[in-house]
C-alpha cells in the first residue's frame, strides 16, 4: 500500500471543507471537523486501498460527522421547508448574486434535505449513491430532493420577482 496522505489531503480538502461548512454553517467548527476527519483517515490509512476509496471514505465520514455535530450542538432549531427565509431582494442581480441567494436558501433548508441537496448538486451524486451514503431508502432521498427543489424554485422566483418590482 503506497497511498500518499499529503496527496489525499490535496485532492479532497475542498470537498470535505465545503460539505462541512455548507452543512454546519459555522466555518470554525466545520474546519475543525474536517481536520479531524482527515486525521481519522490517517489512522486507518492501511485499510484504504485506492485514492477513490479515500474520497468515498472521506465523503461518508464528513457527512456523518457533520450530522452528528449538528445534532449534538443543536446549532439551529428544526425549521420546516415552508419556513425557510426568503433571500432579500438586491438592487442588482448578476449571476454571482443569484448564486449567493441560492446558497443562502440552501443553507436555510432543514438538516437532512440540506445534506441531500449538497450531495446531489455539490458532489453530483445520484440519489442511489446518496441513499447508500446516508443509509436511507432511495425513495426518501428522491422525495427530499423533489420537495427541496420545489421550495427553492418558489422562494427564488418570489425573490427575483420582488427584486424586479423594486427596480
Amino acid at each position: 500500500m503506497g497511498l500518499d496522505f499529503a496527496r489525499i489531503v490535496d485532492d479532497n480538502q475542498s470537498m470535505v471543507v465545503s460539505l462541512a461548512k455548507r452543512y454546519l454553517r459555522d466555518p470554525e467548527t466545520a474546519e475543525e471537523i474536517a481536520q479531524d476527519v482527515f486525521l481519522q483517515l490517517y489512522r486507518q490509512l492501511d485499510r484504504i486501498e485506492t485514492p477513490q476509496h479515500a474520497t468515498f471514505w472521506l465523503r461518508r465520514a464528513i457527512c456523518h460527522r457533520a450530522i452528528d455535530e449538528s445534532r449534538r450542538r443543536k446549532l439551529r432549531p428544526r425549521v420546516g421547508l415552508e419556513n425557510i427565509p426568503e433571500p432579500r431582494a438586491e438592487a442588482s442581480a448578476p449571476d454571482a448574486m443569484l448564486n449567493e441567494r441560492l446558497r443562502r436558501l440552501v443553507s436555510a433548508l432543514p438538516d437532512m434535505p440540506r445534506m441531500i441537496v449538497l450531495l446531489r448538486y455539490q458532489e453530483d451524486l445520484d440519489p442511489s449513491e446518496i441513499a447508500e451514503l446516508l443509509e436511507m431508502p432511495v425513495s426518501t432521498v428522491k422525495s427530499h430532493l423533489h420537495r427541496s427543489l420545489a421550495v427553492l424554485r418558489e422562494k427564488l422566483g418570489r425573490a427575483t420577482a420582488k427584486q424586479e418590482a423594486c427596480s
Binding site: V9, S14, Y42, N99, R103, Y121
Partner: protein, 102 residues
C-alpha cells in the same frame, strides 16, 4: 438556466483555507508520537514480562529437578528396604534348614 443547473453552479466546491493542509499535516506527527508512545509502552511491558519469565522459569526447572530427585531417592530407599526384607527372610530360612539337618 433551470434550478438544478443553477444549484450546481452555486454549490461548486469552494477552496479550503490556505493553511488547512498545513494544519492537518502538523497534526499528523503528533498522532505518530502518540502511537510511538504506545509502542514504547508495549515494548517496556514485553521486556518486563521477559525479565519475570527469565527469573521464574529457571526456578521452576530447578524445583522440578529437586522434586524428581527426592522421588528417585524415595524409590531407591523403598527398593533397598524390600531387598533387605527379602534377604532377611532368605537368611532365616537358610538358618532354619541348617538347624533341622543338623
Amino acid at each position: 438556466m433551470n434550478i438544478e443547473d443553477r444549484l450546481r453552479q452555486a454549490l461548486e466546491r469552494e477552496a479550503a483555507p490556505a493553511d488547512f493542509k498545513r494544519k492537518v499535516m502538523q497534526a499528523v506527527p503528533a498522532k505518530k508520537n502518540v502511537s510511538l508512545f504506545w509502542w514504547n509502552r508495549r515494548l517496556s511491558l514485553a521486556l518486563a514480562f521477559a525479565v519475570v519469565l527469565a527469573a521464574v522459569v529457571p526456578a521452576v526447572i530447578v524445583e522440578n529437578r529437586h522434586r524428581r530427585g527426592i522421588e528417585a531417592r524415595d524409590q531407591l530407599l523403598t527398593a533397598l528396604r524390600v531387598t533387605n526384607t527379602t534377604l532377611r527372610h532368605t537368611k532365616q530360612m537358610i538358618h532354619r534348614n541348617t538347624r533341622r539337618s543338623s
